[in-house]
């Protein structure tokens, strides 16, 4: 097992309340897609409340912003889940559900295996990516950095 795991955070701004008709398609996909993630090769952990609700966590002043935070064994396993499963079909509809996000809306970074990132840490990584661009401490799918590059 690798000594470092990959953490990912992405944020998304809801266009409408979760219990309204606009988001019904998204809400219907939550359970099956989360279950698929949990069973995916390389999945380690994902942020959720005690009663298993990942959508209730709204740490930003703008409470329409949801946070998706997870840890995976490798870059390849996370990428495989995001882009090579039914998750891709769901993401096709992202603009119907979420407002256009300020860049960046996604950040990746390496964590020591066994550690769980906090929401505050995830926000810091997004800010780091925004201010410095992709680097070993915060990067993206398009500009990945290998484990050994972490300082």
């Amino acid at each position: 097992m690798a000594a470092e795991h990959l953490a990912q955070v992405n944020i998304a701004t809801l266009r409408a309340p979760l219990d309204g008709p606009e988001l019904a398609g998204f809400v219907a996909e939550l359970e099956p897609i989360n279950a698929m993630a949990d069973a995916s090769p390389g999945f380690v952990w994902r942020l959720q409340t005690e009663d298993g609700d990942a959508t209730a966590i709204r740490p930003y002043d703008d409470d329409r912003i949801m946070v998706n935070l997870s840890v995976w064994e490798s870059f390849e396993t996370l990428r495989g889940f995001v882009y090579s499963t039914r998750h891709l079909e769901v993401m096709r509809h992202r603009r119907a559900w979420f407002s256009r996000m300020a860049d960046p809306y996604l950040a990746l970074w390496w964590v020591p295996a066994g550690t769980i990132p906090t929401v505050a840490e995830a926000r810091r990584r997004l800010e780091l990516l925004a201010s410095r661009g992709p680097g070993p401490d915060a990067f993206t799918f398009r500009s990945p950095f290998p484990r050994s590059a972490r300082r």
Partner: protein, 251 residues
């Protein structure tokens, strides 16, 4: 520190590496190799097989001796058009299992050359980034759907023009996809696509480009008078993200 490459594609997003990719000597040598009809037959056989092909299989398909096939196959590997690996065929292990066979499959990289030099990929990357930042996925999908439908109607009209009115059915989607480079193959009831014509771009902008591709194929089906809902997103590593279901499988 340089970003590392993924799937053999240089990470381009932030660095715009590859913006100025002009035909290299390697590209030209590879294309020149395919001028030979035997090599072309061997290359096409390996590509169509979709997986690993032995020297014997390729020789038989091209109708040449095994030693000649081996010579040409290795030339194609040298040029970067094919990749080779060694593996024992069959279940036998240990002494008597025989030597491992040399197996060939299509190389992951691309070979391309245009004269005068044209770098449409660089333009496509900038346009994709702009669409992504503008959040214009729905507009892109609508454009692709219309373009696919227009192409499908044009193909249907051309088929009708070649035959007396009413006698020619619209070309089947399988033929149309093959002509557009998707390399369709049957998998049970479904038609899957071995090649992504937008591979470099879709590796960088998967959501944007795969959704565009799905809309394009929905439109193509519509223009051919077929059912657009036969095209579905069905991503898996190593093939196009879209599959075409059989009519019987539509619920």
């Amino acid at each position: 520190m340089r970003p590392f490459s993924f799937l053999g594609i240089a990470a381009i997003g932030s660095t715009l590496v590859g913006m100025d990719k002009l035909p290299t000597d390697r590209d030209l040598i590879a294309i020149g190799l395919l001028q030979d009809p035997v090599r072309r037959a061997l290359y096409r056989h390996v590509v169509a097989a979709g997986g690993e092909v032995s020297r014997n299989q390729a020789a038989e398909a091209a109708g040449v001796a095994r030693s000649l096939a081996a010579f040409h196959l290795d030339k194609l590997v040298e040029a970067g058009l094919l990749e080779a690996s060694f593996r024992r065929l069959g279940d036998r292990r240990g002494p008597g299992a025989g030597r491992p066979s040399k197996l060939y499959r299509r190389a992951a990289g691309e070979v391309a050359a245009t004269f005068p030099p044209r770098t449409y990929e660089a333009a496509a990357q900038l346009l994709a980034e702009a669409v992504e930042q503008a959040g214009a996925d729905p507009e892109l999908q609508a454009v692709a759907r219309r373009a696919g439908a227009d192409a499908g109607r044009r193909i249907t009209a051309e088929a009708e023009a070649e035959a007396p009115a009413g006698t020619a059915p619209a070309p089947a989607i399988e033929r149309v996809l093959a002509a557009r480079g998707y390399e369709p193959y049957r998998d049970g009831d479904a038609l899957r696509l071995r090649n992504c014509p937008f591979a470099t771009l879709s590796a960088e902008y998967p959501v944007l480009v795969c959704a565009m591709n799905l809309s394009l194929l929905e439109g193509l089906l519509e223009g051919l008078g077929d059912a657009p809902e036969r095209a579905v997103m069905d991503p898996a590593p190593g093939r196009c993200c879209v599959a075409v279901l059989s009519k019987n499988n539509l619920n």
